[in-house]
Point group: C2
Chain length 332, copies 2
């Protein structure tokens, strides 16, 4: 059995993150001391595709852990409508693997012009993006060859957590990060949770989570599209009940992403309701390992990446080269 690049790269995640956290400790401390001096009143996130989904996780993280409002950039505001936002006293966090997409560069330039302190989370430290910003937090994910990003996405979440924890002097989250690589390696050794049998004839599906679970749900839905060509859409389980739930009447596949944090009782109640209405459910549940609760969604993703890769292979698809996609997409 040949191993795909996607599986190989996904399994590198624990080592990538272990080295990243260690190498970035002084980098995060330098950025954090800058941020403590600036005392920003807004976090402004810039990203597209998977990076935009990492931004959803970042929104929950900075809002819940720091109490700061977070705004996600709509790239067309600068790129198409030619507006410069007033961002005095804001920190702009730009997330990009390649650091080369023209609209992201333009948005970053405008954020600087608007007065923001800019930080890039970027994999390619020689990119134009890295040269443009006030501070660089390298992702250190190494080369990623599979079109479907895995380790670079997980490394983005861990970098966001390290930045947030260092900035807010959150020692329990910092200790959690120390334990993260081993917890991820443990999850890699667990059995698969998703079934090819249930997904092989699925054309459309819904991914449900709440809070941080919804954030990683956005990434799960994108991967289901890219790797299995399933039209999957992620919803906050609370939002799903406002309208989209009507889809359940026609037998709907639901991918359920519970997270054992504050959201669990709220989320579980809605999942029970959706099941009663007849939806077919598959759950990725990594349980309640002894790990900081904000890091649990990274374990969910680690499991999911391996499961979906295995399903693609089982169904005769090549997860390394999904039809119609390039690794680096440039939009204006």
């Amino acid at each position: 059995m040949t191993t795909t690049i996607m599986a190989k790269e996904a399994k590198q995640s624990p080592d990538v993150i272990r080295e990243q956290l260690s190498a970035n400790k002084p980098v995060c401390e330098a950025i954090a001391s800058k941020l403590k001096a600036i005392k920003p009143n807004l976090v402004f996130l810039i990203g597209r595709g998977s990076s935009d989904h990492a931004g959803v996780y970042a929104k929950y993280l900075f809002e819940v852990e720091l109490g700061l409002p977070v705004s996600s950039a709509a790239p067309s505001v600068s790129g198409v409508f030619n507006q410069t936002l007033s961002l005095k006293n804001s920190v702009a966090i730009v997330i990009s693997q390649s650091g080369r997409s023209p609209d992201i560069l333009k948005k970053t330039e405008r954020a600087k012009a608007g007065g923001a302190f800019t930080i890039a989370l970027v994999n390619d430290e020689t990119s134009p993006l890295a040269n443009m910003v006030d501070a660089v937090l390298p992702l250190r994910a190494g080369p990623e060859k599979a079109v479907a990003a895995t380790k670079s996405y997980l490394a983005t979440l861990s970098a966001l957590c390290q930045l947030c924890a260092t900035w807010s002097e959150n020692n329990s989250l910092l200790e959690g990060l120390d334990a993260l690589p081993n917890a991820m390696a443990e999850v890699i050794s667990h059995p698969a949770q998703l079934s090819a049998e249930k997904l092989k004839d699925t054309r459309n599906a819904v991914v449900l989570g709440r809070g941080f679970g919804y954030a990683v749900g956005r990434e799960v839905a994108l991967k289901l599209k890219e790797v299995l060509s399933i039209h999957a859409e992620a919803f906050s389980s609370a939002e799903f009940i406002h309208g989209p739930v009507t889809l359940v009447e026609n037998e709907l596949q639901i991918i359920n992403l519970p997270v054992d944090d504050e959201s669990k009782p709220f989320h579980d109640e809605i999942i029970k309701d959706v099941e009663r209405r007849g939806a077919e459910l598959q759950t990725i549940d990594i349980g309640s390992p002894a790990l900081h609760k904000r890091l649990l969604p990274l374990l969910t993703l680690q499991r999911f990446y391996l499961d979906i890769e295995a399903i693609a292979v089982e169904l005769g698809l090549n997860p390394d080269t999904p039809p119609g996609l390039n690794k680096v997409t440039e939009t204006h």
Copy 2:
């Protein structure tokens, strides 16, 4: 032929908006003078379901026309994770038809506690929400009985435009608003653009727009779900190219929402690319009537609401009572 409640209410939109704009002129002026004194550095939007989609339009509107960053509330941050954001010098705009959903009330209470000046755009002026905020901008949409909101949604967009135009002293947008009701009435008299034939066997679809077109695309996708049980998802056409475009390989129905504003050349280029890849396209194109470009998406929606209602009736569905939905959804 019996008229559905949905069709009747959708056709009331021009009159509803004409009366709303006239009655709210002094209300908007009072709120605007307050906002000019506060000089907020952030607009914080609170809403769910259709109101959340109105918030996407509001994000583009306030960012493009006022140059202020806009953040959309993730309701679980207060409701589930129990955090109060620091919102000093922010204006929170709360959008809700009923003004009664507990999570929206809680989020509003927290926004006040965090220091925001709060404004409610609400249809029910006797609601708890209206009693809680610093200022009320009534939607004046009248009773809405169809589960699928139409006139109240359009009235939300017009109220947002009037508030924005009054606040920014944008006379051309104010003049555009004067012309809006007649332009909407004109669009009502036009022929349908969507075809039941093409949608009757569609289980999933993608709605593409850019900027303001994407904003109303979110509402179009929700209505396709609610009224026709089609799993439709909206994307910014630029975002679609980052990954989800792979869905086109399996013959995808696309609802195309061009808007004749700054986004048009960018959007049209991507639509051409998607067509070349073999997607089947249906377009709602209201052309280039002599109306302020920020108001064109309201015409797109006016046309869409009537088209989708007619298709539902033709397919033997009842658009007034979609399966599994209630008019007012309360989430915690």
